[in-house]
């Protein structure tokens, strides 16, 4: 499988994507675009309090409203015990998942669902929801990590005991877990260090910000079988999770994937799906539910706010010799922040002999966090890469040079244990150093920053089928939603193998009843893992077709080879057989031409990115404007460079938003104050310059074309790159995100 060749016909080219036409004409159907005749509309009643006991719920008046067909509350969901599911998400606790979908005895954040209503119109459902009477006993809310970690803080879950402490805790707390990574001898490390930098950093919760709100249509039949139309990052996982929460059988539910309007990790879990399915079963009608933007902000996503303290020491020659990282991540209402990948990635780019990393997962009265692009890594990199920049300055060394001297390479042991396989970190650093951007002149109040980032990437369970039609066209089928051009990339790999035009291949995202299991589109896995399955299936087909040609020609198999989409006789004894001829005659040679391959591959190939940012700071307003931005990233091999660049650009801009504007703001009572795009301000086109990209290709030896995941790594460096640039422009180290004008002004006036 590791044959790598060069001189590709389709791999590395930029064909128009197969689903493109539907998307520029408005024909593509996203989650909210499904409707069935006579369907009901469902809405969710949400808690106005961040922390309260539910004393009683009375929905008799609401249920009596004409047109209301069903109302459900937490009492209608089975109570699950702690049980962890896997998937590309690793470790979802179904008990918590269920309680996040509908609160039981307690509400844990403003927006926490308390009941759901289905009625003949949306209006009636909304009016009925308002008539539901919920009696709350309001509890003191925990809204900051500092507060949550105090000994006498109110406890969200009285059965939550911290895991990973040296001695088992006696009392429940809001700290669900402590993670530690240690190696070497810190005292010796500090001894050796000539310069030391120690600082504290904070970041706020930020949302994935996909433009399409969550949406689902559920239809349940009289026989208990159900169908779900929804947009998600993985319809198989939606089925697993939804049926688990409802206590139904997965085989009784079919999930049909809609086009997905962005996910970034936030659509790897369920919110509305079980509510719509259960309402549909109660009402005996299809039920459609669509979130408002305010609901998306208040009750889905975001990723963790964080507090981090980093201390790092280096020798005068630039060698990093010791580091301590203390990190606490907000998990929201239930345990499960990305602190695991946080502690593993925070120092992962560097070879540091003496290290202590300690991380905490902290619950508080805010929405439960969801995965967001390289979960846990971007905030960690903000802290660590800011410290590296400051060390470089103290050492009088170029910051890229300092990174090159300490960069991990193949065979070096990562701080979290294993040795790196083939990686391209140094290559990204060298490309950045040699890029004209890095030496371009700057004006007054302008500054340049660089930063790097590391992400693991993921393989995952995968099924793919490749079939040849009678006209010699092909269908490539997988079960991974296409969020950013993966249909095209899979078709390109099949075209390369089969030797046919990429537009004679139709890539299909099949529903849960039409193909074997697939993990989610997440962990940057599709071009890698599904790519492997598609290439394997194509190769099986070629083998099959060569055997059939041998049968037709009555020659040994060895005398047939596959060249340019045709079976060819090596001896020239017979005229070549085209794909079309082999397919149309397949009845006589053993039946249809189709191959299905399932894999669960290892070797996803780690990703590294180094980014350069120029900013200008307005000293009167504190406004930071990004003037120029360059993303250098190792893609292993770019199958469709447009969409690889797109991932790099999109990730960088999300990171720029995280750096400069975006944050969840809560009032004193724990109510989110900015649950809309006006006040939660994501970057718009006029905020930004072009985002230059340099794709580095250090092929991944575990993929037939060398692919590494590219979807996530790009979001890791931007916050530190921007902060380092702001420092270069102003002489102020920004340690708290976002670097909003107010914060920057404060820093500037702090002289």
């Amino acid at each position: 499988m590791t044959t790598t060749r060069t001189g590709y016909k389709w791999v590395g080219t930029r064909p128009v994507r197969h689903d493109g036409l539907d998307k520029v004409t408005g024909r593509a159907r996203f989650g909210a675009d499904y409707a069935t005749a006579g369907m009901l509309h469902g809405v969710v009643l949400r808690s106005p309090h961040p922390h309260a006991h539910i004393v009683a719920i009375d929905f008799s008046d609401a249920l009596a409203v004409p047109g209301v067909k069903a109302i459900i509350t937490g009492a209608d969901l089975p109570d699950l015990s702690d049980e962890f599911g896997t998937g590309s998400e690793g470790g979802i606790n179904f008990r918590d998942l269920s309680r996040n979908i509908l609160a039981r005895d307690k509400v844990l954040y403003e927006g926490h669902p308390v009941a759901a209503v289905a009625a003949v119109t949306l209006r009636i459902a909304q009016q009925a929801a308002e008539m539901i009477e919920v009696e709350y006993e309001v509890l003191p809310a925990v809204l900051s990590m500092e507060h949550a970690m105090e000994d006498d803080a109110p406890v969200l879950h009285d059965d939550l005991y911290t895991l990973g402490l040296d001695s088992p805790p006696e009392r429940p707390s809001n700290i669900s877990r402590r993670r530690v990574i240690a190696r070497g001898d810190l005292d010796a490390g500090w001894e050796e260090a000539d310069v030391v930098v120690e600082r504290e950093y904070t970041t706020k919760a930020v949302h994935q910000g996909y433009i399409e709100p969550h949406a689902v249509v559920a239809e349940t039949g009289e026989d208990g079988r159900s169908t779900l139309w929804c947009s998600s990052q993985g319809h198989f996982a939606m089925r697993t999770y939804t049926t688990k929460v409802l206590g139904w059988e997965p085989g009784d539910m079919k999930v049909i994937p809609a086009e997905i309007g962005g996910g970034f990790g936030g659509k790897t879990t369920i919110y509305l799906e079980p509510l719509a399915a259960l309402l549909s079963r109660r009402a005996g009608r299809a039920v459609k539910m669509v979130m408002t933007r305010s609901e998306v902000f208040r009750a889905t996503g975001p990723t963790s706010g964080s507090v981090m303290r980093i201390k790092m020491g280096a020798r005068r020659d630039g060698k990093l010799v010791a580091a301590i990282a203390w990190m606490a991540y907000e998990a929201g209402a239930f345990p499960g922040s990305p602190i695991g990948p946080g502690v593993m990635t925070v120092l992962a780019p560097y070879d540091i002999p003496n290290v202590l990393i300690e991380g905490f997962d902290v619950v508080l009265n805010k929405p439960k966090v969801a995965a967001y692009r390289a979960p846990g890594a971007p905030m960690a990199a903000f802290a660590a890469e800011s410290v590296v920049d400051e060390l470089a300055e103290k050492l009088g060394m170029d910051p890229i040079e300092l990174r090159i001297r300490n960069a991990v390479t193949e065979g070096v042991r990562a701080v979290y244990g294993p040795k790196y396989r083939k990686i391209g970190f140094v290559e990204t650093l060298e490309e950045a150093r040699d890029h004209p951007h890095y030496s371009a002149p700057l004006g007054p109040w302008q500054g340049r920053g660089v930063a790097s980032g590391y992400w693991f990437n993921f393989g995952g369970e995968t099924t793919a089928t490749v079939s040849i039609n009678e006209d010699g066209t092909a269908v490539v089928m997988s079960g991974c939603p296409d969020i950013g051009g993966t249909r095209a990339a899979l078709a390109q790999m099949a075209a390369e193998e089969l030797g046919i035009d990429v537009h004679r291949i139709e890539p299909v995202v099949a529903d849960t009843h039409s193909i074997g299991y697939n993990d989610m589109t997440g962990g940057s896995r599709v071009a890698f893992a599904v790519g492997i399955a598609v290439v394997d299936a194509s190769r099986q087909l070629i083998e099959d077709m060569c055997s059939r040609a041998a049968l037709i020609w009555d020659v040994p198999r060895e005398e047939v080879e596959w060249v340019d989409g045709r079976a060819q006789s090596v001896t020239g004894a017979a005229a070549p057989l085209t794909l079309e001829e082999l397919a149309s005659g397949s009845a006589n040679t053993g039946g249809p031409l189709s191959a299905t391959v399932t894999v669960n591959p290892r070797g996803a190939g780690a990703g590294f990115s180094t980014q350069i940012c120029d900013v200008e700071v307005d000293p009167d307003t504190g406004l930071v404007t990004v003037l120029r931005y360059t993303v250098v990233q190792d893609a292993g091999r770019a199958i469709h460079p447009d969409y690889v660049e797109g991932q790099m650009q999109g990730g960088a801009v999300q990171g720029i938003g995280w750096a400069l504007n975006e944050e969840y703001i809560f009032d004193r009572d724990g109510v989110m104050e900015n649950p809309g795009f006006l006040d939660y301000r994501m970057p718009v086109a006029s905020d930004l310059p072009m985002i230059d990209t340099v794709i580095v290709e250090v092929p991944n030896p575990d993929h037939p074309y060398g692919v590494r995941g590219v979807g996530e790594t790009g979001i890791i460096p931007p916050m530190a790159a921007v902060a380092n640039a702001v420092y270069a422009a102003t002489g102020k180290r920004m340690q708290d995100l976002p670097m909003s004008p107010v914060r920057v002004l404060e820093a500037l006036s702090g002289d």
């Binding site: 996203f30 433009i211 969020i483 970057p683 072009m690």
Partner: protein
């Protein structure tokens, strides 16, 4: 509740529909007329996914009530292509990979068309401000801006473009 009867022009065709007074144009298009190409990202005028052109003006259809369009002319994404011929903006978006998930695309195309109708040869900055009311979370805008500039040059220079391709 009685519904209002509204007569208007949609993508060049005379049509009529019934709607509730509180119903937005966005809801009329999607829920009454089945025109699902216009998307809802926020419902508050902040994302541009619902962009349509109303009597030559770019508007957020989530901020217009259905009855308000009586006697007026609406252009949506569904009317952008001319029969079997894509609008140059649609072509340049396809060729320039100007979208990833594609949910913002109809809104961007409509907003870009409104811009080019008004200013056929915009600068990069004018393009960036012209679509500043539209959010895209996937692309970082780079390829969108390039594709709009590319379409503008195709449209104002059809001959050179044909020779170039």
């Amino acid at each position: 509740m009685s519904r209002t009867h509204v007569t208007c022009v949609l993508n060049g065709d005379p049509i009529d529909f019934l709607c509730n007074d509180y119903q937005t144009l966005l809801s009329v298009l999607r829920d009454e007329l089945g025109m699902i190409g216009t998307k809802e990202g926020c419902g508050t005028g902040d994302c541009g996914a619902c962009s349509v052109i109303l009597d030559g003006q770019l508007v957020c259809s989530c901020l217009v009530f259905g009855p308000e369009v009586e006697g007026r002319s609406i252009e949506t994404i569904e009317g952008m292509a001319d029969g079997q011929h894509l609008h140059p903006l649609q072509e340049s978006f396809l060729e320039g990979a100007a979208f990833q998930c594609g949910v913002c695309t109809p809104g961007f195309l409509v907003a870009a068309k409104a811009l080019l109708d008004r200013n056929p040869t915009p600068t990069e900055t004018e393009v960036r401000y012209g679509v500043a009311g539209n959010l895209c979370r996937c692309t970082g805008y780079d390829k969108i801006v390039r594709s709009i500039l590319d379409a503008a040059s195709r449209m104002s220079n059809p001959q050179t473009h044909k020779e170039a391709t």
